[in-house]
């Protein structure tokens, strides 16, 4: 029983990180129909900037804020400089669907190389702001630590802010309208071009938060968030790729599911299990848990 609770708590903590990464991918997919592999690069770059600030100032909150702002800016720059240019030159046919994805893969490589040149390819220790030792109740110590609590609270805060923006503000209405029906949104007066950039900014923010929250458990390298990209992508697909709620539910489902496999079966099964879950979802419910069939066909 104790073991199951532990698995659940760690699963929730990891799941929130996966959810943030899934949100980043879904936000970009919804706004520009691009599967953004560079998201792992954007997130790790933001994390390195947070790492730089925390090593210089020893202030995690400052580092967090700096890293998140960097993530937002990188998102905007990628959309404006790379994606807009790309869409201007290829607007039709199969190339238009593929080019941005390939470009995002290239960008991932580019960002990693830049990080390597600036900070080196070796591991950098990202010291946690709070203890990573598990909470102790009487004589039992659980694996869930203050850092895990910080992850859950931080991620949940970002999600609540996103929910409020999307459901309650005019900006959120414009973002949703532009995602669902860009043409009708334009006819209603929404500046869809600018709104797309904002979608990338939000995505960059979510990815940065994920990277900065998960990295203090470990050391960082230019490649250390690559596996998170895969977990985030699987979570996004489980959730239906179109739905922000789906991304969160998909992330938590994956996080908790993998945590149980890790606890009861073994670490070596993490990646195979991830893809078995993905395959099952795609076989049983190809539109994902929260997607619509129509959206998948579109």
């Amino acid at each position: 029983m104790q073991q199951a609770i532990n698995a659940l708590l760690i699963g929730i903590s990891n799941g929130f990180i996966y959810s943030l990464m899934a949100l980043a991918l879904v936000l970009v997919w919804r706004s520009t129909r691009v599967i953004n592999f560079a998201q792992a690069g954007q997130a790790i770059l933001s994390t390195y900037i947070a790492y730089e600030i925390v090593t210089r100032t020893d202030n995690f909150i400052l580092a967090f804020i700096g890293g998140v702002i960097a993530g937002a800016l990188v998102g905007a720059v990628v959309e404006i400089l790379l994606m807009r240019t790309l869409f201007k030159h290829v607007s039709d046919g199969p190339v238009a669907a593929l080019a941005p994805v390939i470009a995002s893969l290239g960008l991932l490589g580019l960002i990693r190389s830049i990080i390597g040149m600036v900070w080196g390819n070796d591991q950098k220790p990202f010291f946690p702001p709070v203890s990573t030792n598990g909470f102790t109740f009487g004589s039992t110590t659980i694996p869930f630590s203050r850092m895990n609590l910080l992850i859950v609270l931080g991620a949940a805060t970002v999600m609540i802010i996103f929910t409020l923006i999307f459901q309650k503000s005019n900006l959120g209405l414009a973002l949703r309208a532009a995602a669902f029906q860009p043409e009708i949104a334009r006819l209603a007066g929404v500046r869809v071009g600018a709104i797309r950039t904002i979608g990338w900014v939000f995505a960059g923010t979510a990815g940065a938060v994920a990277g900065i929250l998960i990295s203090p458990n470990d050391a960082i390298t230019p490649y250390s968030l690559d596996s998170l990209l895969i977990f985030g992508f699987v979570a996004a697909v489980i959730g239906g790729l179109e739905s922000l709620t789906g991304a969160v539910v998909g992330g938590l489902t994956l996080g908790i599911g993998l945590s149980f496999i890790l606890t009861y079966i073994g670490t070596s099964l993490i990646f195979p299990a991830t893809f078995v879950v993905l395959a099952l979802v795609l076989l049983i419910r190809p539109q994902g848990l929260f997607g619509s069939k129509a959206a998948r066909n579109a």
């Binding site: 209405l173 949703r176 309208a177 669902f180 009708i184 006819l187 007066g189 929404v190 500046r191």
Partner: protein
Amino acid sequence: MSGLTVKDLVVDHGAITALNGISFTVEPGQLAAVIGSNGAGKTTLLRTLSGLKQASGGSAQWIGENILGKKPENLVRHGISHVSEGKSVIPELTVAENLALGGIWRKDKKDVAAVTKEVLELFPRLGERLSQRADTLSGGERQMLAVGRALISRPKLILLDEPSLGLAPLVIEQIFHTIDQLRHKLGLTIVLVEQNAMSALRIADIGIIINLGKIVATGTATELINNPALHAAYLGY
């Protein structure tokens, strides 16, 4: 000063010329019915006037200002609202959100609230369904929502694409009646694209009949209705 002036408008779809030298004028407050069969170029005309499509030649002015080459999101700020083909609503959003979208760019939030109230008085059915998603509405209700959303931007010129498409005859009559009422009440200039020729001409001031991208006849609605030569060919009876 004239209202909408279109001169020698040419629009291409790739290698195909969709509109080949279209010229007409709609005076302020007039309702112009653009009639023609499928593929005549009616929808292309509206999409070009609202900025969704690029013209290859000619000019179009609204109250003396060039409108070609401008973006739809900017034209709506200059009083030109396009209600596109096929019930121009966002199905995933609620009725209230679709209406709110129409006023999203406007600074005068008081007036947005006032005009929203007017729209809900005009279409009480929408008021009863504010929190429902637009895809739960009937075809007629969706058309009301699309027109309502356009009205919230306080347009001067409405480009209306086949509002009768896929609706039952009784609902079509209601929609045309509402359009007629609206333009008199609000002093709107309307360009109405329709296959349903007689219903459209009955409420129109002028008619423009196009075929294969060219204007084949223009005149007052009465003239067109009473021209026997046009009946068999274009007016469908």
